[in-house]
C-alpha cells in the first residue's frame, strides 16, 4: 500500500480539505481540467470520467512509448487513475492537473520497472487474447524495418531516465518548468537531459537504420 508520505511535497495537501458540498459539473459550459479535478476533490467523483476521456489517450501513448509494452501501459494507466481518486485530497488549489497526472504516471511507471526487474509478471489468459493483435503478423514482420519500428527500437535502447525526460519534453500539455517539477530537478537540468537524450536517440536511430540496410 502506498503511504500518504510517498506523495512528494509539491503534491502535498493544500491546506485543509474542502468541506464544501460536492461541486456539480455543469455540462453546458466545459470546465477546465483544474476545475474538474477540484470537483473530484470536493466529492464529485463522476467528474473523473471526463478527465479520463480528455487525457487517457496522450497519457497512454506516453506510457506505451516509455514501457514499450501495451499491457504494462494499460496497467500503469489504470493505476494512475486509481491513485488520482485515492489521493484526490492532495490535489492543490493552484495545481496543474496534467503535471500532477504525469507525476503520478512517473510514480506508477517506476513501480512497474522496479517489479519488472524482479522477474516475469503473471499474465491473465484474457490479456493474451486482448493483445493478440499486438503480436507481429507476417506483414508487420516484413515491415519491421520501417521508420516507426526502428524508432521504437531506438527508444528501447535509451536509458529509462533519458527516455522519460525526452518523452515528457515532447508532450504538448507540459511546459519545461512542469517537466522539471515532475522530474524533481531544475529547468536547466531538465533541458540538458532532454537534449542529451535527443542526441542519443538520434544516434541509436541512425545506427539501427544502417544495420537494417541490406
Amino acid at each position: 500500500m502506498i503511504a500518504a508520505a510517498e506523495i512528494p511535497v509539491h503534491c502535498a495537501p493544500f491546506g485543509v480539505e474542502s468541506r464544501r458540498p460536492p461541486a456539480a459539473v455543469d455540462s453546458s459550459s466545459p470546465l477546465s481540467d483544474h476545475e474538474l479535478m477540484l470537483a473530484v476533490r470536493g466529492g464529485n467523483l463522476d467528474a473523473m470520467g471526463e478527465l479520463f476521456e480528455r487525457h487517457h489517450g496522450p497519457l497512454f501513448g506516453y506510457l506505451t512509448k516509455l514501457t514499450g509494452n501495451r499491457a504494462a501501459a494499460e496497467d500503469i494507466l489504470q493505476n494512475v487513475f486509481q491513485r488520482m481518486l485515492k489521493y484526490r485530497h492532495t490535489y492543490r488549489d493552484q495545481g496543474s492537473f496534467t503535471a500532477w497526472m504525469y507525476h503520478l504516471g512517473r510514480r506508477c511507471s517506476s513501480d512497474y520497472f522496479r517489479k519488472a526487474s524482479h522477474g516475469p509478471q503473471a499474465v491473465d489468459p484474457a490479456d493474451l487474447e486482448a493483445h493478440a493483435d499486438d503480436a507481429l503478423g507476417v506483414d508487420e514482420l516484413a515491415a519491421s524495418t520501417d521508420d516507426h519500428a526502428l524508432l521504437r527500437r531506438a527508444l528501447e535502447r535509451l536509458d529509462r531516465d533519458d527516455r522519460e525526460v525526452l518523452l515528457l519534453s515532447r508532450l504538448q500539455e507540459l511546459s519545461f518548468a512542469e517537466v522539471a517539477n515532475i522530474l524533481e530537478c531544475s529547468v536547466g537540468a531538465a533541458r540538458v537531459r532532454a537534449h542529451r537524450a535527443l542526441r542519443a536517440l538520434r544516434d541509436h536511430y541512425f545506427q539501427l537504420q544502417k544495420e537494417s540496410l541490406p
Partner: protein
C-alpha cells in the same frame, strides 16, 4: 560561434526550447556551416519521427475499470452496502421476490480482492502471508476499508483470477466469500475473471442469493459469452424465477443472437 558551441545548442533549437536571443547566433552559424546544417537536420528529423510515432488507444476495458474504481470510491464515501450484501438482505426477507437491487455499486476488482483476504486467512496455507493478512484485517473495521486495502494489494487480472480460483475451491466458503464471488461476477472488468467467479458459484446454486445475483448480473452483463454462461447456470440451478427476464432477453433485438437463442431455450426448459 564555433561548431562545438553550435552543436551544444542545436538540440535545444530543434526542440524549440531555446529562447530567441540565444537562437539568433545558432541560426547564423547554421546558415553558414554545411556540417552543422546536416547535424541539425538529423535532430529535427528524429524529433519529427518521434512526434509522429503512432499509439493505438487502450482497450475498452479501461473505461469499465475506471467506472469500477469510481464506484468503489463512492462506496467508501457513502458507506453504502455492497451489491451482494444488498441482495442478501433482500433474499432474507420472507416471501419477497422483488429482490433486484436499485443500486449497483460494488466494484468486482475490489470485491474479489476482499475475498482474497478472507480466503487467505481461512486457508492458512502460507503462514507468513496469513499472518500478514491477519494484521491487515486487524487494522480494518469497515468493509470499505477492507476493499481499499485489497485493491491496492492485488491489482492485476492474473492476481484477481488466482484469488477467484482459490475462493471457488475453498471447501466451506462462508457468506462473505460467496458475496465476494457475486460482486466479482457483477463488476470485474475481466471476462475471464467474471466467468470463473460464475463457475465458482455453481457449488452454491441452491442458495437464493446466488441465483438472484446471477439473474441480476445477467441483466447488466454486456459480454455474450458470459451471458450465455449465466443462462446455463440459471437452467442448471432450476431458477424458475428467471422466466420473465429470459423471455425479455429472448425478445430483445438489441441482444446478441446466441444469447437470445440461449434465453429462449432456457425459458422453455424452466
Amino acid at each position: 560561434m564555433n561548431c562545438p558551441e553550435c552543436i551544444e545548442q542545436m538540440a535545444a533549437l530543434a526542440a524549440g526550447s531555446l529562447d530567441e536571443a540565444a537562437a539568433v547566433p545558432v541560426r547564423a552559424h547554421l546558415a553558414a556551416c554545411p556540417d552543422c546544417q546536416r547535424e541539425y537536420a538529423t535532430l529535427t528529423r528524429t524529433l519529427e519521427k518521434l512526434d509522429a510515432l503512432p499509439a493505438r488507444p487502450p482497450s475498452h476495458r479501461m473505461r469499465a475499470a475506471l467506472a469500477g474504481m469510481i464506484e468503489t470510491e463512492k462506496l467508501g464515501q457513502r458507506d453504502q452496502a455492497p451489491f451482494a450484501a444488498s441482495l442478501r438482505r433482500e433474499a432474507d426477507r420472507p416471501r419477497r421476490r422483488a429482490w433486484l437491487p436499485a443500486v449497483l455499486q460494488m466494484l468486482g476488482v475490489a470485491a474479489v480482492l476482499a475475498i482474497g483476504l478472507l480466503v487467505g486467512e481461512r486457508e492458512g496455507e502460507h503462514k507468513a502471508e496469513a499472518r500478514e493478512l491477519a494484521a491487515v484485517r486487524a487494522k480494518v473495521d469497515t468493509m470499505s476499508q477492507l476493499v481499499e486495502q485489497s485493491v491496492l494489494q492485488k491489482r492485476t487480472d492474473g492476481d484477481r483470477l488466482e484469488t477467484v480460483l482459490t475462493a471457488a475451491s475453498a471447501p466451506k466458503p462462508d457468506e462473505r466469500v460467496i458475496d465476494g464471488l457475486i460482486n466479482t461476477m457483477a463488476f470485474d472488468p475481466s471476462v475471464n475473471v467474471r466467468l470463473n467467479a460464475l463457475n465458482g458459484l455453481y457449488a452454491h446454486a441452491d442458495q437464493e442469493v446466488v441465483r438472484a445475483g446471477v439473474l441480476a448480473c445477467l441483466v447488466r452483463e454486456s459480454n455474450p459469452l458470459v451471458q450465455v454462461s449465466m443462462i446455463d447456470f440459471l437452467v442448471a440451478a432450476k431458477a424458475r424465477e428467471a422466466g420473465p427476464v429470459l423471455r425479455k432477453l429472448a425478445a430483445d433485438d438489441q441482444v446478441d443472437a446466441d444469447v437470445r437463442e440461449s434465453a429462449r431455450r432456457a425459458g422453455e426448459l424452466l
